[in-house]
Symmetry: C2
Subunit: 282 residues, 2 copies
DNA sequence: TATTTCTTGTAAATTTTTTACATAAATAAA
DNA sequence: TTTATTTATGTAAAAAATTTACAAGAAATA
């Protein structure tokens, strides 16, 4: 019994259920939280059926028995609702808004994790590994992401640069060689200047990897689109968690490249690390 | 029964338990996943005690009975074990390392969320609101965090700057007024140049908010320390999730400031948004 | 309408948990 | 050290909960 989608299974199975079993299903879906603390008699009574019917229902949805069913239900309920996109209100306590920020970030990350197109990630990693130069373009909040990415890839012995200035982007774009890669980062997916830069990159024979929401002009215009949909209240505050999702995707790309580049990189990183330690105390 | 910390409760209660009850506790902590599918007889037998002892143990950790205990345990296990700090290996598939990166990031965020000192966050928010100028200092990976933060606070109508150059930091630091705030960001907490800048800030009467691991020189040297412990395999790859935790903390600070600044900010943000839209297509 | 099949509930059996109590162990007092 | 008292633990019985077997009732088909 996969607990992750029990309620889903119940909904799906609904059509195959007998009338009285369906009563149980409906009650469970209506009050799943109450059910996990119930005994079989309570559930039978509240659903208006007999106890054996409840057992039959449990078996019908793939569980071994009533206890097994309750356990699976409890697990599902415990696993999902903790996070979520909750709007911060102006009356929230420090504790509340701290939790909300972290939880909605976590929520975004989990959603993005499950919606990433892996084949595009693989294509992106391959393209980066083949490139002579890798550059990161982004404006506004995405500029910080671009610089973070540049820093990260630089450490992987990849010639990389980050530009948040449209003129620099354009100049650099026109000097790219065939096979070079530009990673265009945008939270909105609609930044005109970035689209312009991307066009120049493609004219130079460069490959554009786009990090942007799905269906946006930037995602469509990219050679390889890594679509990141982090719905959030973009109106009220600056992009909150979407740029964090972008950073996580950059991490994934970096890991992918590091893996492909193999173990000779390990030695290089060790060296870098020891070089840095001289700048640190203790 | 709060399921979120049952195993924590067990660990805490351990000292008050009788010898045989402790056997149960140890077994549960050793094999929590197995326990949720066990009957009381199995658990009693495997822990080497009698069934009533198991019941007494359940009551001792705050549950109503054995079933209640199993339910709470199941809920806790369902909510946590999916994440965790798992090292990426060189044989991982794209799917695997993608999940690992996201999951360990989520894990870090949840840990940091629960370990933040709220009173220090509040103090930091208050200090930022009182400051004439707010500046962000960081090197390396933290430089990107600093720029992100600058961008974020700039949108909140706060005069802010970000410097990742020690000379610029020093020049700016000496020109600060009493009450101005510098947020010093460091993943390692040991960067010598950052410590030097912090010293200058304090000499100018500025307040230093430190974002760094607990107990590190930077955390200790800061006027307000926001300690962020994101243990990770810092050796092999660049700081992966700790900078994301830093960004999340910046978000929290920004929300806190926005809340304090009140609703007149809303109008300003609306305006900003409409200004940006002219740079976008569609 | 009669027959068959399917559905559902009653009641019994089984399993599982909990309680009551007795014994053993440990601690404290003499 | 010995004895009394308290505390801890297990045995066995009781209670509670779940599951099975079966029969009655409803629905469907001939």
């Amino acid at each position: 019994m996969k607990p992750a989608q029990l309620t889903q299974t119940i909904s799906d199975t609904m059509v195959d259920l007998r009338k009285s079993e369906r009563k149980v299903a409906e009650f469970v879906l209506k009050e799943p939280l109450g059910v996990i603390r119930m005994r079989i008699v309570d559930l039978a009574q509240q659903a208006g059926v007999s106890e054996p019917t409840v057992v039959r229902f449990c078996r019908a949805v793939g569980c071994h028995g009533f206890q097994d069913f309750k356990l699976a239900l409890a697990q599902q309920l415990a696993s999902s609702p903790s996070y979520g996109q909750i709007a911060v209100t102006d009356k929230d306590s420090t504790r509340e808004y701290t939790h909300k920020v972290f939880d909605s970030t976590v929520d975004t990350l989990l959603k993005v994790r499950d919606s990433l197109a892996l084949e595009n990630l693989e294509a992106a990693v391959a393209a980066i590994c083949n490139a002579q130069r890798v550059e990161f373009y982004g404006f506004g909040a995405s500029a910080a992401v671009a610089f973070d990415a540049q820093h990260k890839f630089f450490r992987l012995q990849i010639t990389s640069a980050a530009y948040s200035d449209p003129h620099l982007q354009n100049m650099s774009a026109t000097s790219l060689q065939t096979g070079d890669v530009v990673i265009a980062i945008s939270q909105s997916g609609r930044t005109q200047a970035l689209l312009d830069s991307m066009e120049l990159v493609k004219q130079s024979g460069g490959i554009v990897i786009g990090l942007a929401p799905s269906g946006t002009p930037i995602a469509r215009s990219a050679n390889i689109a890594i679509e990141i949909d982090a719905k959030e209240d973009i109106q009220i505050y600056t992009p909150l968690s979407s740029r964090i999702a972008h950073l996580a995707v950059i991490d994934v790309l970096a890991i992918g490249v590091a893996q492909k580049k193999g173990p000779q990189l390990q030695a290089h990183l060790q060296q870098l690390q020891s070089g840095l330690s001289s700048l640190r105390v203790g």
